[in-house]
């Protein structure tokens, strides 16, 4: 199977590089204390985001989850106002009211939400409107695999099928839900689950951008023609963990340090005079060890699933260099401007303080 018809490997690579650079810039800004609170990066999801977003234009709408920066970048969102918003500036996309979890760009149109599972029903609503106001336009919902246990997301699969709506549900399966291994809390197979609602289903490796492009294209074309909603399952990996500062990532990067912090109270608790049986405690150790091992494996084996690296292989080196250089220049320019607009803000700009 060669590259799919209509697939622009250079354009796709350019888009992935741009996403990655913006994400990296924000991760760095977070570490520098410039991004307040949480930041959930989309590093590792670029293949999925680009593969889907390449098919969208005009009034095609998007309902996004907490990893929303990359899809917005892919749809051409303004880098400066986007980054300013994530940093909490009144010059940001949403005047500082949104932060990274609720980025809202009515011009795309795209809206993100921080409540897990809402992208599904929000996209269903967008699709009802699109079908009436902009026939041929689709709505895309992005969500994680763990979100599929949220009832309202499942409800929205049902609604989309019952109303035969132009929606695409994109499940980015990174196998984890914060610190929980999703398979431990999930029954059955997620692809079968989606299929059982009557959704048209495709399944791909999310790092293989050309496969994502092809599968998403099929589902989106179907939806545009009024043939009903689709579900795309795409695997991926979250090298940065759930969010910046993720304790599991800290554990993997600095096992000694984290063990020194977590170990003593756990040992003390396990040794408490009252508590579970020896069996209970062994079971606890087993649970934690298993989870740690899974994390370690995923963070080494799955890290090879980097979509950007894969996309690079589809191009000649010269093209790669050209693209990377121009995107880097673009993003760096924006970052410089944004950083200088923010100034230094160790106290998050709270001038009054309380003490």
């Amino acid at each position: 199977m060669g590259l799919p018809a209509g697939f622009d490997a250079a354009g796709a690579y350019r888009a992935m590089v741009r996403m990655r650079l913006v994400e990296e810039a924000l991760v760095e800004a977070w570490a520098d204390g410039l991004v307040p609170g949480e930041y959930h990066s989309g590093i590792g999801e670029e293949g999925i985001n680009v593969g889907v977003v390449s098919h969208l234009s005009g009034r095609d709408s998007m309902a996004l989850d907490h990893r929303n920066t990359s899809p917005l970048v892919g749809r051409g969102a303004d880098l400066r106002t986007l980054m300013l918003e994530v940093m909490g500036s009144e010059d940001g996309l949403n005047r500082g009211w949104a932060g990274h979890m609720h980025l809202m760009d009515p011009d795309i149109p795209a809206a993100a939400d921080g409540i897990v599972g809402t992208s599904g029903p929000l996209a269903v609503g967008q699709a009802v409107a699109n079908a009436r106001l902009y026939p041929g336009r689709v709505a895309v919902a992005f969500h994680g695999e763990a979100a599929m246990n949220q009832g309202m997301l499942m409800e929205s699969y049902n609604m989309a099928v019952a109303w035969n709506l132009p929606v695409l549900f994109v499940c980015k399966d990174n196998k984890w839900s914060i610190t929980t291994y999703s398979a431990e809390v999930t029954g059955g197979d997620l692809v079968e689950r989606a299929r059982s609602f009557g959704l048209a289903v495709e399944q791909v490796g999310g790092n293989r951008i050309e496969d994502v492009y092809r599968a998403a294209g099929r589902l989106i074309t179907r939806a545009r023609r009024g043939k009903g909603p689709g579900f795309l399952h795409a695997s991926c990996h979250r090298p940065g963990g759930h969010f910046e500062g993720d304790p599991i990532v800290r554990l993997l990067h600095n096992p000694r340090g984290q063990a020194e912090e977590w170990g003593p109270p756990m040992i003390q608790n396990a040794r408490a005079k009252t508590g579970g049986s020896r069996g209970d405690q062994l079971a606890a150790v087993k649970v934690l060890t298993k989870r740690g091992a899974r994390a370690a494996r995923d963070y080494t084996v799955r890290a090879r699933m980097d979509p950007v690296r894969h996309g690079r292989r589809l191009l000649e080196q010269a093209a790669v260099d050209r693209i990377e250089a121009s995107e880097r220049q673009d993003v760096e320019q924006a970052v410089t401007e944004v950083r200088s607009a923010m100034g230094s803000r160790a106290t998050f700009g709270v001038s009054g303080g309380t003490r």
Partner: protein, 337 residues
């Protein structure tokens, strides 16, 4: 002017709004049968039955509103909205703000509410106080067909989120459905306020502004503040109080939020005695909000509340005692003397 029933007036106003604007649509459980007149007029694309998926179809209303429609999402009874509460608390109330004011959510959430017809503690709540707690959520409950029509028109044409509550005791549709009024062996005549179930509606329709209370009866001794069926119970109580030489004002708020602060304060200054009559729970609601307004304004007044103190029991006599009935209002008003 024409005479309409309460539920009929609401659907009539919604029909007018749908005729004026092609982007007004409605969906919810069983709406095609319940609002069959609208279905007949506008067809199945604009009047849709949903599955029993309150969370998804409320959020879908929000998504649709932001994508260009003006959805009227019906949650059957307000008691079922808690299933989808996040749509109100985290989405409808927040998205305009999150967007930095760049994106409106022109959504109406329509639901039946209220009791007096023996449907148990999970089908007779009003929840209007808690709903009004969240930012940007307008909440109304009309007490007459004219207000019902006028407020529905306003709600649909507003660019903001409006929760439109229709009182089940006043709505011919719900009383038939839920109270089993189709049998000849029961009668709700002693409970149903005649001015609430049927009345004149101005034609062409006149929108009723959000946040504007109306004085139903003017008196100088005590002010009874309420809305929905509560306003009628206050009228009954006022009647009884006259016999004891007490002349009561009855203020029908119509909106829980925005609250007509000026009207409340003016009445309070006038009579110096305020009884808030609320078919919602006593805590976290309207009675507290009005108390706070009074204290903040420094209006010295005697004050009492007649509200729902706990779970609404099923048995008719227990239910009646638990709701803000006229006897309870009279007692409270007399105690302020």
């Amino acid at each position: 002017m024409t005479v309409m029933r309460y539920g009929q007036a609401i659907d009539f106003a919604l029909g007018e709004a749908m005729a004026r604007n092609d982007n007004v649509v409605t969906w919810g459980e069983d709406v095609r049968l319940i609002h069959r007149d609208l279905l007949a007029r506008f067809g199945p694309e604009r009047v849709r039955d949903t599955s029993i998926s309150e969370s998804a179809f409320l959020y879908a209303g929000i998504g649709a509103a932001m994508a260009g429609l003006r959805p009227v999402v019906e949650i059957m009874l307000i008691d079922f909205l808690p299933v989808a509460w996040s749509g109100i608390a985290n989405a409808a109330s927040k998205f305009r703000d999150f967007s930095g004011g760049r994106w409106e959510v022109p959504l109406v959430v329509r639901a039946g509410c209220g009791g007096w017809y023996t449907d148990g503690g999970q089908h007779e709540q009003t929840l209007w106080g808690q709903l009004s707690a969240y930012p940007n959520i307008n909440v109304v409950c009309p007490s007459t067909p004219a207000d019902a029509a006028g407020l529905m028109l306003t709600a649909v044409e507003s660019d903001e989120v409006v929760v439109f509550l229709e009182h089940q005791l006043l709505s011919e549709q719900w009383i038939d459905f839920l109270a089993g009024n189709s049998r000849t062996t029961v009668s709700f005549d002693h409970l149903v306020p005649p001015d609430g179930v049927e009345g004149e509606v101005p034609l062409p329709l006149e929108p009723v502004p959000l946040g504007q209370a109306v004085i139903r009866r003017d008196g100088s001794d005590v002010t009874l503040v309420s809305l929905g069926v509560g306003a009628h119970r206050c009228m009954e109580a006022a009647q009884v109080l006259t016999a004891s030489g007490i002349e009561a004002s009855v203020l029908d708020l119509r909106s829980v939020y925005p609250l007509d602060k000026d009207a409340v304060l003016e009445e309070a200054r006038k009579t110096g005695r305020v009884v808030v009559v609320d078919e919602d729970y006593v805590r976290g609601g309207l009675t507290g909000e009005i108390a706070a307004l009074l204290l903040e304004a420094g209006v010295t007044t005697r004050y009492a509340r007649v509200a729902v103190e706990g779970t609404i029991p099923f048995a008719p006599h227990l239910e009646y005692a638990a709701l803000p009935n006229a006897e309870r209002i009279v007692t409270a008003a007399k105690r302020l003397e």
